[in-house]
Symmetry: C2
Subunit: 315 residues, 2 copies
């Protein structure tokens, strides 16, 4: 199992990426794992030595460029052909890595994912999701969280299927409850999109559709998987992230609110492409990198993307 | 100043409505105020006596019907002509009350507002807003929060103007900063609606447009007035409300999170109609009713709806 990591992505790269690798290896004794680290060799080697990363666990692929957080994704990928992200996707396209992780430019990661590896046949558009900490201790999933700001109802129906598969295989939720994010409980509520999506979701035999969920249900256990277009989903996600910052700034130390530290979830996988691509927050620290590796390993071990493909094929 | 109150609206009516009247009158010594209470006289009179509401401050208009929370708004208003909401709007249309307050069926209140009193000339659609407690102690405004699930960019531009006027005259914010709710900071980000609304807001001389705000900015002080369509706004509002419930259930007693108790804001006024109509939450208690009266009084005293009309006329 070869997992590629963009060591230059994120605000604290490459230090936190190296520390994340260290953390993952300390806590996991997985024989078959090999890490392929893309980045500036001159920066990386001293750090890898200082943090005593076992040499048999990784190889460095030296790259000379970095795509910055605010660069235009397509332009940057085209021009910076020796950037850690561009080279990572070249390795992925060539089958030299099985998964690719980055906390760098989200747009570049998305463009790379969609053009370097195949979108699953039948998938209208890939999607990105986010973990949502539920009050009862379970782990919810919200999607789309920003990749698809405008959606057709058929896309929401596919997000539901992909989210349910992910929830089942990665979070271990048996028969996940799928809810449509909406402005009211009853069928018929909502904007044009939600009104059109509801009957499709209701008729979809591949999911356990429980109807509409509202903003008040994001953190309760009404649904395990919550589906919406990427505009609303992105606003919800960033609001949820801000709750942790508020708790910190208010000096509130509460076990539930501590679960809003999105660092512990590591990153968001792209669903609907053929191989695991995991995108982390720009502010990712070691724990986030370690958890991204963990999610990639679990995605490969469970073949969750194969299950997604199968589920989409059966729709 | 005659303020009408639907005493039968809300989960705890009429008791909490009567207690709310009591609370308002205890804390405010406003000579010119007269309350017109719509509801079941047999239920109301004993409560009004028990809570010693001064007889010169109110009159009861006896009604025999109640529109339940889940009734179809238009149908209910048409059929239940002697309901507290229907009679209230009749009084409003006849000029016998200057403002109308209810914690009852939101849809019926909206339909009543739009068909009994005039929509301000030039307003495409009225809107409802919500107070958002900001971390720095100031009071933000979010609109639309559910009346207009699908919007045109021109509507967002009008919401911005109406919200800015409300923020200025009711919250006392000088030159309120107006932000467009979006998925990124830069111009050009967003769904089709947000992309189209941005240049209109930028060109709008009547407001102090500061650009996009994101989910993470809902509770910070980047913008005083945050504009979006009613789908996203409704999800944001209900999520914000749930933060208070979470704090309660987690036994977190924090001054900032306590401001998420939406009871203290009383209700949401309809903007874009000619007279104050204030809609409260179904779970409104005495404080919410007292605050709804307070908002109605302030709206009348500042003639905020006249200012809205003026601002829309100048667009």
């Amino acid at each position: 199992m070869n997992i590629g990591i963009d060591m230059m992505g994120g605000d604290f790269a490459p230090l936190e990426a190296v520390k994340g690798v260290k953390q993952y290896l300390l806590n996991n004794d997985f024989e078959g794992l090999h890490l392929v680290l893309f980045g500036d060799e001159g920066l990386l080697q001293p750090l890898l030595s200082r943090y005593e990363i076992p040499a048999d666990k990784y190889k460095v692929v030296a790259t000379t460029q970095v795509i910055d957080m605010h660069e235009h994704p397509t332009k940057a990928l085209k021009e910076k052909t020796d950037s850690s992200i561009a080279v990572g996707f070249k390795y992925m396209a060539a089958g030299k890595i099985d998964a690719f992780i980055s906390a760098g430019n989200t747009g570049a990661m998305m463009v790379g994912a969609m053009f370097s590896i195949r979108v699953v046949e039948g998938v209208l558009r890939p999607t990105i999701s986010s973990v949502i900490p539920k009050q009862d201790g379970t782990t919810g999933l919200l999607l789309d969280v920003g990749l698809n700001a405008d959606c057709k109802p058929e896309q929401l129906n596919q997000f539901a299927v992909m989210g349910a598969v992910f929830s089942k295989y990665i979070f271990g939720v048996d028969d996940p409850k799928v809810g449509l994010m909406n402005v009211g409980e009853e069928e018929g509520k909502g904007n044009i999109l939600a009104q059109a999506a509801y009957p499709m979701l209701k008729a979809n035999k591949a999911i356990n559709f429980i109807g509409n969920v509202e903003g008040r249900d994001v953190f309760n256990h009404k649904a395990d998987v919550m589906v919406c277009e990427g505009f609303t989903g992105n606003v919800v996600l960033k609001m949820a992230e801000s709750i942790y910052d508020i708790a910190q700034s208010q000096h509130i130390d509460n076990p539930y609110l501590n679960r809003f530290n999105f660092e512990i979830y590591g990153g968001t996988p792209v669903l609907g492409v053929e191989k695991p691509v995991i995108i982390g927050h720009g502010i990712s620290h070691d724990t986030a990198f370690s958890n991204m590796i963990d999610v990639a390993v679990r995605m490969l071990n469970t073949d969750v993307l194969g299950k997604v493909k199968e589920a989409i094929g059966n729709m």
